[in-house]
């Protein structure tokens, strides 16, 4: 499934040629469709609606005559409340539209009013979420690589320009940014510096120390223990980075390699901007 696939939309049609739907039934229908991940348009005449788009549509109504014939991206169906969600699911399958909710939409959103294009996020993220466009402007390129519930990159942004709209608190959730928030962000970076420059250099240094300590006798269990110790310390300081995210980080060697790649990418983008 590509994240660019267009989702099915359900239209509750109550205009000319269809009888109105009672408000309680309308509420039940809309809520059940939303909870199954389907967008809903309630069409009427009192206010404008947005113009049509290429989304596949399931149009349901209490038709006074036979509904119009099916078109390539439109199906028409009688309003049948108990079976509405199943009908939407059947239409979604028939149109080969993506399954909603298959991926929790957790990803960074950049506030370009605040972003200074400093590339700290690109340097920091090991999962390839960030990249630059042809104008060397930072952008989110692979949002489905982002680790669910991890707001770590927003904490290294000196301008609090990175939002996760589903985060619990501001300014990461999009709330206004206060001076104390900015100072707090700086403090986070200072904590990182205390750890040894940055998170990944810390991991790299520990990896080097472990390598010299254990030499050829260093086994995978000891390496894992070292990594867990380091990550546990980091998790305690950062506070809200999920343990499963930390444990899904690549090996220390891979981290070092990826960090160098990301730093080089950021440096190149800054040099050419």
């Amino acid at each position: 499934m590509a994240l660019t696939d267009t989702q099915l939309r359900v239209v509750l049609y109550e205009g000319t040629g269809a009888a109105p739907i009672e408000s309680d039934d309308r509420l039940t229908a809309v809520r059940s469709l939303l909870e199954r991940g389907f967008g809903v348009t309630r069409a009427g005449a009192a206010r404008p609606l947005a113009p049509a788009d290429p989304s596949p549509l399931l149009v349901v109504g209490r038709w006074q005559d036979a509904p119009p014939a099916t078109e390539p991206n439109i199906r028409w169906q009688s309003f049948d409340l108990p079976n509405l969600a199943n009908a939407a699911e059947a239409a979604r399958s028939g149109f080969a539209a993506p399954t909603p909710g298959a991926w929790k939409p957790w990803f960074p959103v950049i506030d370009y009013d605040r972003c200074t294009n400093c590339m700290q996020c690109l340097s920091f993220c090991l999962f390839g979420v960030y990249g630059v466009d042809t104008a060397k402007q930072i952008q989110v390129q692979n949002n489905d690589n982002c680790k669910t519930n991890c707001p770590a990159c927003s904490r290294v942004c000196p301008e609090a320009a990175i939002m996760f709209p589903k985060y619990k608190a501001g300014p990461i959730n999009g709330d206004v940014v206060s001076d104390s928030d900015l100072n707090r962000e700086k403090m986070k970076i200072d904590i990182s510096a205390l750890l040894g420059g940055d998170v990944y250099s810390l991991l790299r240094d520990r990896s080097e120390r472990a390598r010299s300590r254990f030499g050829k006798e260093r086994d995978s269990d000891k390496a894992l223990a070292e990594r867990q110790k380091c990550l546990t310390k980091l998790a305690a300081l950062a506070g809200d980075i999920p343990p499963e995210v930390l444990m899904s980080l690549p090996s220390p060697e891979e981290i070092a390699r990826k960090a160098e790649e990301a730093a080089a990418k950021a440096k190149a983008a800054l040099a050419n901007s």
Partner: protein
């Protein structure tokens, strides 16, 4: 506070289906108000998901003219649309923040025909926060 924009706004409601950050009673009140009204509206399960997909429906909605959006923080909504190549028009867009508004206020505001544009422009700081907004620290 901006002056009301001309034109009756279209309505967009986000159910924020994939997170528990909007109080359920607020979502319930807004959705009931919409369904009890005789107004057309658009309801999406999750704006974040549409933005992540760069779903063309966001361009359709952004091009709808005056638009009232019931979702979350205006700064987040603005950049969610922008990330999908569907920039909202600051002068004709109002975002109701369901994370901070009381249920009754949100329900009344969503069907009100007046539109008070409030998309942030430039760096948003505490001075831009509405008096009633809570700004939890982290």
């Amino acid at each position: 506070m901006s002056a009301p924009a001309a034109g009756v706004p279209a309505i967009l409601y986000c159910h924020c289906q994939y997170a528990q950050v909007v109080p359920p009673e607020v979502k319930a009140a807004v959705l009931k108000q919409l369904c009890d009204s005789n107004l057309p509206f658009e309801a999406v399960p999750d704006l974040c998901e549409l933005s992540a997909r760069r779903d063309p429906s966001l361009q359709r909605l952004a091009a709808a003219g005056p638009l009232k959006i019931a979702a979350c923080f205006p700064r987040a909504v603005k950049w969610l649309f922008a990330a999908a190549n569907a920039p909202l028009t600051p002068g004709t867009t109002e975002v109701l923040n369901l994370r901070t508004l009381p249920a009754a206020d949100a329900a009344a505001a969503i069907v009100h025909p007046d539109l008070t544009p409030n998309l942030p422009t430039g760096k948003v700081t505490q001075a831009d926060a509405p008096a009633s907004s809570s700004t939890p620290s982290f």
